[in-house]
Amino acid sequence: MGIGTYLALASVLFGIGASGFLVRRNMLIQLMSIELMLNSVNVLLLAFNRAYPGNHDGQLFAFFVIAVAAAELVIGLSILIAYYRIKKTLDTDDATLLKY
């Protein structure tokens, strides 16, 4: 049970988030998948910082990742609501206004 286990787990969680983002068409679920990916990166940063605990750089980065993820989520959800006003659905396959 070393740091490698944490790294493997973080890559598995990132894969879950990435496949959810690629496969699902629901914009809400896609935003949640982005959160899953950002969280897996946090696991990675904290595990490396635990392995080299001379300073707090990894935890600092994880702190800023959480803050930026919160800002990103706020903007994403407001875009989602604006999109819902136009299309009356959350299906990303219908988001074709810029396609033609």
Binding site: M1, G2, I3, G4, L7, A8, L9, V12, L13, G15, I16, G17, A18, S19, G20, L22, V23, R24, R25, N26, L28, I29, M32, S33, L36, N39, N42, V43, L46, N49, R50, A51, P53, G54, N55, H56, D57, Q59, L60, A62, F63, F64, I66, A67, A69, A70, E72, V74, I75, L77, S78, I79, L80, I81, A82, R85, K88, T89, L90, D91
Partner: protein
């Protein structure tokens, strides 16, 4: 790592993976939000095994307290339309995307699983409120203040994007 830490890691890892799978598999967005909540709470427990106490608390406060509540609020606001019908068509591209993600994850996780750094003893105050707080205010005071501006811009941007047009 001590045995209680290892047990904690295994339990939280299982719950984190299960929560992530619930999030991406469920057709109903509310269940997906609950899966995200399970994922976040178990990751917060995992942060405790990594001596990151303040980050565990922040994870609970920001993610479970704000992010999941925001998701549930938006689901409530949108109502039945938040549910999108079953996936149809383009089976090949979806299968290909899943296969590529699985291949990348397998390659990555099998290669990094053997990376081994010895768990050295953590110095006093590592990851506590005092330790991380001193690190934030000594090394990253300016980025910490810029974060507040970022959040302010995000709030204003959210209002500007999401408000209803009244022309």
């Amino acid at each position: 790592m001590t045995i209680p830490g290892a047990t904690m890691f295994v339990v939280t890892a299982i719950f984190a993976i299960a929560g992530g799978l619930i999030t991406i598999w469920s057709t109903r967005p509310l269940r997906a939000a609950i899966g995200l909540l399970i994922h976040i709470v178990s990751l917060s427990g995992m942060f405790l095994t990594l001596n990151a106490h303040l980050m565990a608390v922040l994870q609970l406060l920001v993610y479970a307290g704000a992010v999941v509540v925001l998701f549930v609020f938006v689901i409530m606001l949108i109502g039945p339309a938040a549910e999108v019908g079953p996936i149809e068509g383009r089976l090949a591209s979806r299968t290909l995307s899943i296969a590529m993600v699985v291949a990348v994850v397998l390659a990555l996780s099998t290669s990094v699983a053997y990376f081994d750094a010895p768990w050295v003893e953590v110095p006093d105050g590592f990851g506590t409120v005092q330790g991380l707080g001193m690190a934030i205010y000594q090394q990253a005071a300016v980025p910490f203040e810029i974060i507040s501006i970022t959040l302010l811009v995000a709030i204003i941007g959210a209002i500007a994007v999401a408000r209803s047009r009244t022309e």
